[in-house]
Structure formats: structure tokens, C-alpha cells
Symmetry: D2
């Protein structure tokens, strides 16, 4: 019996996992004794989320918040093993909710797929680019794409040419799905449509890396991918002093020297923040998002300014938050439970097919959580007693 | 009783989690019924890995491999909910192990922390830079750093100046630890040492973002961070044909147009690969690494060439794999079990304090796994039957 | 008499320059004896191109070519003091003209200006972005822009938001002008139009660096600026062997390891070429373009492939060639003479106001010249006798 | 008689140029009548700076300054056709010289060449990297390099490996030369030395683009190339008000929103400035530098801060100023005259072979000039009356 057929042949999913472990133990002396196996709903992942399953790894989930986002209190379930992360985020949530809370806005929403196609010569590729750039052809191309999906809608196409190649970046509003499958399916239809008109067109790759998925690339930072979110808030100067034990001036200066100048000197691409990836990744893991997409999803510009009244203005700009509330790992019980804690689960949101309230709400909450994490860490750095005392000590010696 | 004191006050860790859930349910109508809570060793994470704990999220773990790495068979536990990822990686492992296997080499090894310090004027900052650049001062500075750690060793310091700021990038060989705590502690000692000699020096931030941690930045791509690994392998042409159903020429061409040209056109920074982040993140999660560090750890240049014999040469270059086998999430039972499946757990490795066999072995295995994932996905793209048939259909219409 | 008023007061332009030199000589002991002063048409530059004039620096001009571009023979005047540059480019021109010549295509054409505007809060900035993203408002915005120019036409607007700032990247087709003045004037009109609708909008800067002018930035590489040009050609294998003394395989390999992998490892942004800047800068200087714009204009992806027939396919992709044939330094006699050598001077081109044949022709010729330079240098590197003999010598020792 | 042999055959250089023009006129109907030809010292460029010479293009030179740099008054000859550039820079020079002037410091000094070498497998390449990283081998490698040059000194080597390739970035202190020839020559010797020890090493290219010359790349921004210069100054608040008609607060804010945030959003690489390229390019052209090197030489971080006394602190950080006072175009009479105006000509500087006072002084002056240009332009933007009145007008309508 083939190892990957155990589930199918046995019918009993958990027994299949047990048997597989026995096999590896016998064959290769692998020790599974500390890898949990019982009590997991293997049927849910069979054939859709994981193969050659040998157990599961539990990630502890802490609950930060509530944080006031767009007038509502939102909790942030975070799956992490980094000590202090949740406590620190929590402190940020508290501070940000003491005034009028966080305003979090989705500026744009589109998942992308960019096939690479090739022609005999550059002028042929240019003809394809001209066709796709011509608004007169939009209706036809959009019809091809939209015929493949009930929820998605083609929103734009950007064609980047290099020599005789075209990288056709297709952008799709994917409703509550993260949308990679949806946009890939629609992309095939667009390619079919183009192949008819450009018989010389050769498909090199359904993904030509201009998408760009799970890799750091300027095109996502500039054009956005998934949800492009900006969030901001104002924190009173006395709150900064009382709760964060620092001052507006210190925070503004620290953010400038670290998140702007420091990152710029390091050759950062979208990394103008303190630790956006920490908060985003923890929420991604809790809610069944694809954690490999945090590479670009965690791109963030954190900005701190002093208001005319002497208070703290803080904003985070995150152009590429790739999230969904359906599909991927979101259908699994525990992950869906976490979506539920955030009020983003499909059954909670008064959604029709096109408004994607759930996924947008999730993206807005993540940006707010990132802001909380940024504010709290910056405050900690600006007041680091440990550092001070240590350096003081040395000075005295 | 304060929410975060439940564990301390009750003594019973799991009961504390239950009570906390009750509280949130009562106060905020949160529904935890589908979030697992039982059977987790909460004592292990209390006070060190997670706060405000309300349960855990189980991630299914599949086992790819074995893959032959440096002459040994290595298994790759992967925690993921992305369907087909493990099956595809597995195929790559198989192919790469049919010949002489993967050679995987650690080129450099150093975790970094870069405080930002400031002076009245640029010339004062330049004096600090000159001091740190002067080999004559190395012994003193290294002594300060090394006094703080039994395992770590200062390996180099790079000072980037901007105006009157210096960003002092301190590099530490951290043994089997990922090393952020170790390097941070040593950094304080170095700062203390410098403060004595440069009384005008003002500490702006213990981390000035030139480190660069969990953010995309060229400095990690160029100078490396954590383990810098290169791996390569040769795959026979007939294996490419028989198992991967494609040809060496097609794979080489695809890699060029997608991973090199496509990424270059998209303004990629270290993203010259197909999906390195997928494999790396899944192993990171299984083995208790910090998944937010995949932002830079997954940077990868994938290269495919045709050998003189017509076979396939493949290499992956990953300058910034940040891993450890002690500390962080690695001490948790399930995660340590996964390290054990890879032969990287502390008790398995014939390690003295300075050789860090475990963490280096882990980094080498990750690079090999990434190679398997790259090869398999590229092969799939180059032969995508679905795409072809779909486009064929349209052509016929 | 003020130094800068000499021209105005004296009337005699050259005498003013002489007097100014006398003044500096007397006051500051400056020695102008070797700086040419006579025979220059100072009236042309007075009040428009240069201030505090003390003479001129002559740059030698060599003539490369002809090179066959889009079926016509084009000469390339190059102002340079880099030895061998023209001879090498010339060799490339010869080789590229032996077959069917270079095809050079303008893919897009738009100069940009991106003011930075600011609002009280991010949601207000988002309202501006939404207004500008809404196709329904295009007619009004375009009317405001186009009212300021007879030749230019607004082609698109892209609004990048960061926190409460919007960077409004306004793109203008500028006819035969490079267009910075034109787009800046139109930008003022757009800002005026927006100010009426968004009274809370505060102008921070007429240029907010998202333009991006004379600085390396991914947005120009991805979206283009000025003329976006792709050129390609096929060179017969026997020509490669006979004239370039190398082989197609060697050139293709060299380009891959150097211009793609090498540049990628160095963290290049648009620098996927050997020395595009050399050729472009020399033609810019000869023809009165702004040489500071070569920072982004020289961005180039050079691609070499082996055709099915074993010949060499070469392409260059240059998204940001910022050129004009009117305005700036192009109206000066010598520079206009050089434009005339290329067949791009205003009087030579059968131009109506909107076709901008001259500037486009110039951009196409520059790309072809760059290709010639790339090919010749790559060939030289691949056959470097000096290197070989030197290393041979050492091997023997 | 071959066209390129005219000089050699005729002996009379200017007559050769005349004859060449006649030839092109006859053959290709080219019109040289407005391209200057007389009075140029063609002998100087023959065989070393330019080929197929047909005349020269005169660039007008204006004189900005003096500006106080490191306690001395320095003039800045600028060759440009951009109106207002010199006048604006001049204003900056004036303002910066009213207090204690500009402090300008060379932090590092090294020109680079990075050959690409290749091995059968990655482990072989790793052996080369290990050899070059090992301090024990430094003396031998340095001896090989230094044997080729009287003035240059090997300062460091950085080996970046990708797969089975190594890119060996060789850094040379080149005295008063820009140094590309010097470092290339030394590189050959190093390669010869390595070839003996690594017989499997194959030279792919004497330049593998990790140098990186005349292309935008992060490695130059981070590691520097040529002279790495930081300059700063303090301008009194009342000077800002009186001469620049703006305020410290406005300038600081403008610099932040434009040069830091705007550039970061545009995906800038080293482009954190307003128009450094303008000033640098104009001085490069006047003094015989290579204008194609401004691509990386003009990388600049401009920083403005408010001092505790309410004054303006300004700094510019330029890691890659590639300049020389011997070699290239610097030996030509007019260019050398401009070097002389700056006090940087070889005969003016009390130089022994190793101190490179001339080239360093030039780099320091350029950075100071850039600062003047930045300050003046930022002031102009912050007070743009034209913009204000235009928008005012619209508001009233």
C-alpha cells in the first residue's frame, strides 16, 4: 500500500496517520512520540491542505485587544511563541483605544497573477502590450476573465515588457477569498482569449514572477497586492507619558532615525517599520492565512508626527495585505474560530457576494494590530531601562 | 484578579486558560468552542512564549523526504495548510536523491544587531566609525562583547554612518541559538565600552533597523544574516524526463525567464526564486523557528544550468537563513520532536559548545528542501497540462 | 555692479564673461587661463541655461555608426572622454547593421511630476485618492491639466498614499519636449482644481519624489518615465565569430552570469546591463539632454539568447529614457547640430504638434546605440586576451 | 585611407577632423556646420579619450561659491545647461558660509572591480571564498595586487557567492586616480594568484557587475565605492528666515515628507535627496570626471533637523563619489583648469603619492556643493510663491 494512499484505503483518517508514523519509525527509526496526533480533524485537510501527514504542531494562541477599529472593539488572536509579543501588542491596543481609536481604510483590493508570454520579436510582444493597454479591448478581456468566476472581477491589467517577453499582471478583486486560485483560473481564460488573437504567443509560465507572490518585490510595494490598507490614530500626549512612559518628541525622533533613516541606509524595500511582520504573522497563523505571504504582506511604512496640539499622530501604510476569510486554511475549525473572535468569519458578516466585508475587516484589523505593536515597541525602545542602566554602569567604571 | 495573573494565582495552567475564555465569553460574547484548549503543555510557554493564552491552533505536519543532503538522508517535517506543497516538495526530494544528492554548505554564520547612536556632529560620528574600523581596537571590543556570552563570539562589526548617526551592525556567531537575545546582550556591552571612550555618544535605539530583522533589506541579501547557505545538485537528463516529464532545456529557460528576468522586472530584492518561502516557512513552523523571520530568510537565488553532459545543474543561494535549535519555540515538545525528525535536536548532535552542528545542519536541510520545492514547481509549470489544454481549446474555437 | 548683472548692464555677453573672470582673478586669485572663453554664443544661454558664466568646457564629439534602426541608417554623435568607448560602440553598430538591423519601439511615453499633498487624517487623503482613481472625474482633471499646454496631454494619474499624505504622480505626454516644465505647469492646474474640491488639502511640495527625477527609484523602472523603449536584433552566428571573435554560447552565458545573476546579487535596481549609461550619457551630452537624468534613463535590461538557428538574439529594455528635441540644452547650436546628425532636429522631422517623431526617434536611436555598446563590450569581455594571457602566465609559473 | 587612421596618417589632428567631416558630408549628407571644430587641442585626446572625432560640444561653465568647506573657501565650477541651477546652488553656498561653514569628511576610500569566476560545483566556489575570507592569506593576495601599481593599495576583498559562481569584489585605494584602470590591473594579478591555487577556477568575466560600475545597485549604497563622504553644517534660524525666506520647521518637515517618505514610497535606492545629481553632474563635467558614473555617485541621503537652539542642522551622506584628479578627462586643459579653480589640481596640492589630497578634497567639495543645492532647492519648494498664488486663485474662483 502506498504511503500517500493510506487515508483513501483505510477510510479512518487518524489511523492512517498512526500507521504512517509506524512505517517511518520502522523504516527510518524516526521518533514521533512527542509529536501530537490525537484529536485532530484529519478529514478536513485530507486532499486539500496537507499530504503525508504525521501529526500536528500546536501553536499557542493569545488574545490581544480589544482595540477600537473604525468605531468597533476588535480582538486580535495571535499564534506565536515569541515571548512578550502579545503583551506588548496588548499595551498598544489599550493606548490606541483610549481616544477615538484607529481609523483603518482599504484603499485598493486586488490579487494578481502575471503569466510570462513570449513572441518571436519585441515588436510582436509590443503588439500584445498595445492590445492590453487599449481601453477598447477591456470589455472582451474582462468578459473572458469574469466568465470563470462567480465572485471575482477583473479590475485591471498591467503589461510589463522585457525584450520579446510580456509579463501580464492581471488584477482581480476576489471577494472574501485571498484569491490566488481565482485569479489563476481567470488568467487561463485571458490567455486563451489572447492566444486566439496572437497565434504567435507562446506561454512560458503561468506565473512569471511579476505577480509577485511570496517574494520581496517593489511592484507590490508600489502597486499593492491583496488589500492596500492605511490606518491612523491620534494619541494624547498625556497618555504617551502616563502609559508609555515616554514623550511624543522622543517617539517621533526614534521613528525617524530607526524606521526611516536606518531602513533607508540598509537598502530596505517596504521595510520602514519596527516589527510589522511579528503582529501580522501571528494573526495570519491564528486565522488560517498563508504565512509564506507575510514576505510582502508585512511591508509597512510607519509614520509618527507631533500634532499641532502636541499629541502623537501615528499611521501605518501597508499596501500588500494578502488575506481571505474563505479558502486556504480558513475553513479549519480552530482557524475559523479565530476569525470568529475577530468578527470576520463568513457567518458573522452581513455579506453579499461582492462586498467582501469579512476579508476587508480582517485586513483593517491587522493594520490596527500592527500599529499597536509598532507603538508599543517604539515606546519600549525609547525608554529601555536595561540599556540605560547598563551603559550608565560602564560610564561610572 | 488580573487577566494576565490567572496562571500565577491559580497554579493550574490549563484551568487559567479555561477561566480566561470564560471571562472573554461573558464580557465580550466571544465564542471559543472550536478553538482547542485541552492537552497542551501550557507550563512550557508560560512566562516565556505567549501571553493572554486562550488555546492553541494545530497546524498539520506532513513529512517530505528523505532527501539526500551531504551524504545523509534527511526528512523534512513541514507544517502547512497549502495543498500539494508537501507532495510537490516530496517529488523534488525524490528526484534530487536519485543521483549523488544535494551538497549544502554554510558559507557564513552570524546574527546581527545594529544600534543607532548619535553625536553632535558628523565628524564625531566619523571618529566612532574610525575607531570601530580600526583593527587595533578589535580585541577590546570583542572582549566586551564576549564577556556577556558563553557560546557566542563577536565575528565582525560594520558601521554605516548617515550624517551624525552611526548604525553599528554587530555580527555574532551564536552557536545553536538563532541568537537575537545573545547578540542584543553583547551589543549592550559593546555600547557600554564605546560610551566610556565617546562620552558624547547618545543611544537613539538598541536596534536602528540596519540589523535588519523581519524586514526586507538589501544589507541582508548582500552581507547575509544568520546562516548563509549555498546548495547544489546535478540531476540526470533522463530523470528529468522520466520523473518530471520535462526537459533540461525547458527548465533552464523557464528559470531564466521567470526567476531571473521576471523578478528583475518586478524590482525584486532577493526574490529570484519560485517559492522558496513556502518550503522554508513550513519547516520553520514545524521546528519552532520564528516565522516572521521568513521575510528575509526566504531570500533565494535559484539557478538552473545545463551541464556539458546535458544534465541539469541546480543551485539555491540563501544568504539569510535565521535558525536555531535552542531557544525561541524550539524547546516546545512538538517542535523539538520535529527537530528530532531532522536529526537536528540538541540531544542528537555530537556538539560541543562551539560547533553548532545542529543549527547548521538545519539550515543545510532547509536549503535542500527549498531546492526540492523549486525543482518540482518549475517542472510542474513547464508541463502544465491544464494550461495547455485550456489554451488549445480556445485556439480551436 | 553685481556680478550676475554684468551681462545685462554691459550688453556685450562675452565681455561680461571676461570681466567676471577678471573679478574672480583679482579677488580670489583664480586662474582661468586654460578655460576657453572665446567664440561661444553666450547670448543663447543668458537667462535660460547658465549663470555666473566664466567660460566653457569643450567635450570632444566622436561619431559612431551608422547603425540601422527601424530600416534607416542612423549616426550616433557621442560626447565623451572615455577612451575606446566610441570605437567599441562603432563595432557594435557595424555588427548590428550587417543583418536586418535593429528594431526599436517606443512602448510608452510620459513624463511625470508627483506633488505631495497632505490632509488632517488618512481618510481625507483616501478621499482624494478615490476621487483621482475614479474614471468619472478624468475629464475634469484632464481639462484642468490640458488647459495649460498646447502640446502636452495628460495621460494618467497614479496616487500613492502614505498615512495622511498623497503623492499624486501626474503623467503627461509632452510631444518633443522632455517635458518637466510642461508637466509642472499642468500639475499646478490640477492642484488648483483639487484644492477647490478638497479645501483641507495642504500642498507640502510640488515634487514629492515619487516623480522620480534624477534619483534611482523602482517606480521608474516599473512604470516607466519619459520614453519606454524596447529594441532587439538578430546577429548571425558567423558574424559573431568573424567580427566579434567569440561564440553565441559564450555571449549568452556571459550575459547571464554578469548582467542577470551578478547584478541580482549586487542588489541592482534596473542595472541589468554592462554599461548602458556610457552610451546614453555620451549621446545625452552631445544632443543637449539633461545628463543628470541618466541616473534613471540608463536603466536597462540586456538580454541575449540563442535562436533556434543558432544565431544571437539580443534585446535591450529601457523604460525611462527622458529626452526631448526642444527645450533645455537642445536649442544651443552645437547640440542642435548633433541632433541634426541623428536626423532628430525639429526642422528635419515631418512633425505635427502631436506625433513627436523627433524625440521618439532619438529615444529609439539611443536604445539601438546602447545595444551596440552592450554587444561590443560583452564580446570584448568574453575574449579578453589580456586577461587570458596574464592568467596563463601565472598558471605556468 | 581608413577613417580612424586619419590622425595617424595626416599628422595634423585638426585637419584630420576636418577631412572626416568632409567625408561624412559627402557620403551621408551630414551637416556639421554648427558643430564647433576649431581651436581644440585634438592631440590631447587622440588615442586616449575619443575616437572618430568630428568636433566638440562646448558646455557653458558657471562658478558657484565660494563655499566654506573645512575652513577654506572653495569655488564650484559647474558645466550645465539647466537654467537656475548655478544661481540656486550659489544661494546655498552663501547661506552655508555665513556661519562656521561645512564640515566634509571622507569616511572610506576604495574603488572596486569584481570579476566573476566559476567552479564545477558550489563547494569548490566555497573553498575560494573561504580562502579569500581567511586573514591568513591576506598578505599573499595583497602582494599580488600591489605588485601591479605604484600608487594603489588593496584594502579589502569581499566574495559574494551564488551557486558555483564567486563574485570577488576587490577594493583598492587608488590615490588621486578614480582608479578603475588601476584596480582592473591589480585584479588580473589577483586572479593569476588564485588560478595557481585553484586550477579548477574558470574566469567568466573580469567584471561580474558586483563592482558595480555605472549601474544602480545596493552594494554601492551600503558598502560605498570611490570616496564615501559625509558633510554637515548648521544654519542659524535667522539666516533661514532672512535669506531663504522660510523656517527651520518648514524645511525639516519638507525634507521628511519628500526626501524620506516620498522616496521610500517610490522604492528609492539611495535616492533620499532632492537633486544631488544636478550639482554632482555639473561639477563632474567641468572637472573631467566620468559623467556616466553619476548613476551611483549621486546617491545621497539628505537629512535636516532642528537643533536644540532652534537652528537648522543639515547633513548629506554620499557613499559612492567616484572621482579622481589624474587620469580620464582630467588631463585636458579646460577640465584641469576647473580642477584648478577648486584647488584640486595635482600641481596645487601638497601631495605625496599616498595621501590623495586632491581627489579627497574634490569629493569633499562636491558633497558641500550638493548640500548647497539641496538646501536652496528645498527652501524654494517650501516657499513656492508661484504655486501658492496659482492655487489661491483657484480657491477664490
Amino acid at each position: 500500500m502506498a504511503l500517500h494512499e493510506l487515508e483513501k484505503k483505510l477510510g479512518d483518517m487518524e489511523r492512517a496517520v498512526h500507521l504512517r508514523r509506524e512505517y517511518f519509525k520502522a523504516q527510518s527509526a524516526l521518533d514521533f512520540s512527542n509529536l501530537p496526533v490525537q484529536g485532530y480533524d484529519y478529514a478536513k485537510i485530507y486532499g486539500s491542505n496537507c499530504e503525508v501527514v504525521v501529526g500536528y504542531v500546536p501553536l499557542p494562541v493569545g488574545l490581544a485587544g480589544p482595540i477600537q477599529v473604525n468605531g468597533e472593539n476588535v480582538f486580535l488572536p495571535m499564534a506565536t511563541t515569541e515571548g512578550c509579543l502579545i503583551a506588548s501588542t496588548n499595551r498598544g491596543c489599550k493606548v490606541l483605544s483610549m481616544g477615538s481609536g484607529v481609523q483603518s481604510i482599504v484603499l485598493a483590493d486586488g490579487i494578481t497573477r502575471a503569466p510570462c508570454v513570449r513572441f518571436p520579436r519585441a515588436r510582436d510582444a509590443a503588439a500584445l502590450k498595445a492590445y492590453l493597454d487599449d481601453a477598447a479591448n477591456w470589455t472582451d478581456v474582462a468578459a473572458a476573465f469574469n466568465s470563470t468566476t462567480r465572485y471575482g472581477r477583473l479590475t485591471s491589467i498591467k503589461t510589463i515588457q522585457s525584450g520579446r517577453n510580456c509579463y501580464v499582471r492581471i488584477v482581480c478583486n476576489a471577494g472574501n477569498a485571498m484569491g490566488m486560485n481565482m485569479v489563476s483560473k481567470g488568467t487561463l481564460a485571458v490567455l486563451g482569449h489572447l492566444q486566439e488573437r496572437f497565434p504567435d504567443m507562446e506561454l512560458v509560465a503561468i506565473s512569471g514572477n511579476v505577480c509577485t507572490d511570496k517574494k520581496s518585490a517593489a511592484i507590490n510595494w508600489i502597486d499593492g497586492r491583496g488589500k492596500s490598507v492605511v490606518a491612523d490614530a491620534v494619541v494624547k500626549a498625556d497618555v504617551v507619558a502616563r502609559i508609555l512612559h515616554t514623550t511624543v518628541d522622543k517617539l517621533v525622533d526614534l521613528n525617524l532615525q530607526k524606521n526611516l533613516v536606518g531602513s533607508a541606509m540598509a537598502g530596505a524595500l517596504g521595510g520602514f517599520n519596527a516589527h510589522a511582520a511579528n503582529i501580522l504573522t501571528a494573526i495570519f497563523l491564528a486565522t488560517g492565512q498563508d504565512p509564506a505571504q507575510n514576505v510582502e504582506s508585512s511591508s509597512c511604512m510607519t509614520m509618527l508626527e507631533k500634532t499641532k496640539d502636541g499629541d502623537l499622530y501615528i499611521s501605518v501604510t501597508m499596501p500588500s495585505i494578502e488575506v481571505g476569510t474563505v479558502g486556504g486554511g480558513t475553513h479549519l475549525g480552530p482557524q475559523q474560530a479565530c476569525l470568529g473572535l475577530m468578527g470576520c468569519a463568513p457567518h458573522q458578516v452581513n455579506d453579499d457576494a461582492t462586498t467582501e466585508q469579512g476579508a476587508r475587516r480582517l485586513a483593517c484589523a491587522i493594520a490596527a494590530g500592527v500599529m499597536a505593536g509598532e507603538l508599543s515597541l517604539l515606546a519600549a525602545i525609547s525608554t529601555n531601562e536595561l540599556v540605560k542602566s547598563h551603559m550608565e554602569l560602564n560610564r561610572k567604571k
